[in-house]
Chain length 236, copies 2
């Protein structure tokens, strides 16, 4: 697999998968964190890099790395205090990458994706996540509603993000084992997935347009959950 971009290559070196080779412009190869890896680095012109990775967004660096290793959903459920983010058919690689980055930054335990009709961890997702996918466990499950049933049996609470929901996102105490479920942009949660949630939470909107982007909603909810798990319910 050829990943590309400065942060993705840097985080691959700091993460779990093997980095086999690096190609970079002379300038990019001067990054101090690449100094120990001269033996596997080759200098290349920008157009060669673009051919290698198939994208103009390489920022002067590409790397051949081992395939992305997905985590096991069961292992996420077995954690002491899981804080799992599940995505119901988020298909845009930019959104998957952006949500992975926010989840990793907030200290979430991991991400769960359905096998079908979901973006996977491609090099474009690595790039959009700024390399966050190298540090965040990401699991694929056959059926998301079944996974939520498993999560409930494992004593997790499932919160679905849904603007038709009955609870404001800030009125809940999230200091428990939990899954936050986000739907795709436009269509939201599928009925069976919404039905499998213990509560549906909404973000109060005060503007004239109808909806936040899924990556903005994810950032708002993930950081509120992270804050609340550290500090408890606020007084609003």
């Amino acid at each position: 697999v050829i990943i590309y971009g400065r942060n993705p290559v840097h985080e691959a070196f700091r993460g779990r998968r093997a980095v086999k080779h690096v190609w970079g412009t002379r300038n990019a190869l001067r990054e101090p964190w690449l100094a120990p890896h001269g033996a596997i680095s080759t200098s290349a012109e920008p157009d060669e890099l673009e051919r290698l990775c198939g994208s103009p967004d390489h920022q002067g660096l590409c790397a051949e790395v081992a395939p992305f290793q997905y985590a096991a959903a069961n292992e996420l459920l077995a954690l002491a205090q899981p804080f799992i983010v599940a995505l119901d058919q988020v298909q845009d690689p930019q959104n998957l990458g952006a949500i992975a980055r926010s989840a990793e930054c907030a200290g979430a335990s991991g991400l769960v994706l359905p096998e079908r009709r979901s973006a996977e961890v491609t090099p474009a997702v690595c790039k959009a996540s700024a390399g966050a996918v190298e540090h965040l466990p990401i699991a694929k499950v056959r059926n998301l509603a079944d996974f939520l049933a498993d999560a409930k049996r494992a004593d997790l609470w499932c919160y679905g993000a849904d603007q038709e929901g009955s609870e404001t996102y800030t009125a809940i105490d999230y200091g428990r084992r939990l899954v936050l479920v986000l739907g795709s942009e436009g269509r939201g949660l599928r009925p069976r997935v919404a039905h499998a949630c213990d509560a549906l939470v909404l973000i109060p909107l005060r503007g004239r347009i109808e909806s936040l982007s899924v990556s903005a909603a994810a950032a708002v909810l993930i950081f509120e959950l992270a804050r609340n798990r550290q500090g408890g319910l606020h007084d609003a």
Copy 2:
């Protein structure tokens, strides 16, 4: 100006600027909200739409609209309870659009951009904002640090988002007239802009990567400010 995309065209009709003509695929022109506008609508093939707007992301709809009207920064400062978001040299149209969308959804008063080295409200920004720019006052100022000085004279507090800041974003009472200032991805706030702020606030990060995206940080901060202005300080 030719804007494109389903939400941008829809919001242009709901917003302030004149819509002169619409081009759409037969299917897209069946949208019920377009029914009253048959006299200015023409059906077109997808490749014609792409030529018209210069982007493959038209979703079957383009429209010719009046140029975007910027707001006056002074008028934003003169509001009763201003909640202004200022962007220090955010150059990526996707980021500007995403932040405009979050700001509009949260009920912010408006956005302030510097004249130079900032993305402007182009059709790509309209698209990335899902049409939010049609409802959100957006002002351009010659110099952002000078604008912050004006804001302070107008009795606003200026909060800069800065991971080197001294205050956690949730530890502040935002129930006052204020400006939230966000820097560009990668470089953050320029020193003179940071210096012009009353306080620099940070979002605690608990992961291994170094930073949130500017649009995720904006969503987190803007919605915390909106929540706090409604409900007061939380107990964390």
